[in-house]
Amino acid sequence: MNIIVSLNDIENLVSAARFPISHLLIGDGHFSSDPLAKKRDQISRFIAEAHKLSLKVIIRVDRLYEEHELEALRDYLRFLNAERADGLLISDLAVAMLAEEEGLNLACLYAPETLLTNSSDVRQLLQSGMKGCVISKDIPLSAMKQIALNNPEGCWLRVYGPQLIAYSRRRFVELYLQDGREHPKNYFLQEESRPQKLPIIEKSTGSWLYGPCLQSLTEIKDIMTWPLHGIIFDGAFSADREVLQALRLHLEVLQGQLSAEEAAGQLPAQQAGYQALSAIRRTVMDKEDLA
């Protein structure tokens, strides 16, 4: 099975390549949600170095884009194609259309975070030309499995990483503080009656609010039996060492070297805490249903 791992620093490329991974996930500053963004020359170098290590590179092009940005986006996609990026992680269907229009050799993995909650939509998207679909994380594990079973080899699953719970064009922190700055890391929202701190990433292009970090230590053995195209360790704003540590722990559980409980105790600390993939509950419609 393919394994995608997000990486920020090219210095960690060799360390990452020691793991049995197939793809790296990186993003630039403007066209992705990535807060620790790379410039074009860094992306070029990243792709070249990764290819030398026989790793494919997926580029995070996962924002929603406004009409006035399209020419710049088109130019960026051409650049990625010229640099021989292997694929794109996208959230806006426009990216798939532009790649098709331009005849680019960039496989699109559709990852809108919230919209792929059933087998039929995934099937439709794969039939429409999408090379892969990342199953939404807001449905129970059994529902994720059903989607994978119904779409063999077309699905990817995020097994580790902060879960994006809201994406906005607004800049909530900047509007609140009136400080005219970006707030790309180390900011948190805490609902006034709840203990958990929710990381918020804010750039000129919008805000991304995250919930607890997902982990799949208990579930990973089962997940690896599903007919998935691959699994994703997406650290989002996390440091590379944390993502690689989480990857190592999942692999050691998979290989029977550690129990899930032992591994959970060694996960890097997260302000928002952790949530096991199997702990995602089936959602309801209203208060009465909750009772």
Binding site: P112, A166, S168, D289
Partner: protein, 396 residues
Amino acid sequence: MRTELLAPAGDLERAKIAVMYGADAVYFGAAQFSLRAKASNFSLDDIAQAADFAHRHGSKAYVTVNMIPHDSDFEGLEEYLKKLQRFGVDAIICASPAIMALCRQAAPGMEVHISTQQTTLNSPALAWWKKQGAERIVLGREVQYDDLCQIMKKAEVPVEVFIHGGMCANFSGRCTISNLLTNRDANRGGCAQSCRWNYHLYEGQKCLDREDYLLSMGSRDLCAADWLEALLKLDVASLKIEGRMKTAYYLANVIKAYRFLIDEYYNKGEISQTALAYGKQLLARVANRPTYNGFLGGISEESQIYNLPSQVSQNYVASVIAYRDGRGLLQTRNNYRQGDRLALMRPQGQDISFTVDQMVDEDGQQVPVANRPMQRLWVRLPAKADQYCFIKMSED
């Protein structure tokens, strides 16, 4: 082609009000497949009646099937779509490629409109949906006017734009705060509006709360009256009012305001400042959150509500239950008394002011003040009225 005015309805009564007050089309949904679990009081029979009523008055009827479905949600959907087609529903509004495909196969007599839940912000995304068979796209509410102009030059599929009502803090369909904090599914009709709650803000361990109020993501409501003429010049297919949970009185005023302004534009070629002021006066009558122009003019610092209070209107006095011999049977919504200056609001024409001269209950007893909710009293009215009329405080 004239731009359509599209209005919401939470039940059959409100669908009729929407049509009578000038909506070219009305949208509503049954609870099962719609995004307003609490707003949808439409039985299948109600849907059939609403579609029939709309058609008899020259309007169209759209049904929302705009949940982001789970596998189990498809059960019964094909039969439901076929029934909608039999009822003469003109279009469904959906957010799922699979539901779109199912509708095109099972109920090809209905158009498929793509919901704002898909947050379509640009022309290539429009083209993607058109390629899949969509017949109209409801744009994301984040589209700025300059971008809309460019989109309209390239769009090969009709476009619908929101002009009034609630705004999501986040991109619609891309928010699961409610799911995480309350286990209520934002994309299947259960949104708890957790974005409107108060949040502490931290940088690391340091609390950055202001002294006067906490951070809230809650947005002001959209009111695009100032942009209406510009939007009409673009020939968008449809201008949409949000608010399936709003009252009949709210809908009547908002629809009447936009109907008046749109007609003004088509009759005179422009919306004069006087006309705009009158339209905004109608809009200001109804209870609402603070409003702003949305994203049409760019990202506004005025977009957030924080702790600003809602404007609760006491303007709505009574609904009209019946009319006989110059008197109307009024059902009380807010207090009024003998001698008060009230006004009769009708679907067409200006309000007619009058002074309450005598109030009589259903037993024939004179009553000096109406101060009980839903209290029914006979009151002399200045003109013939029916169930589509409202009694409000006079503004003269």
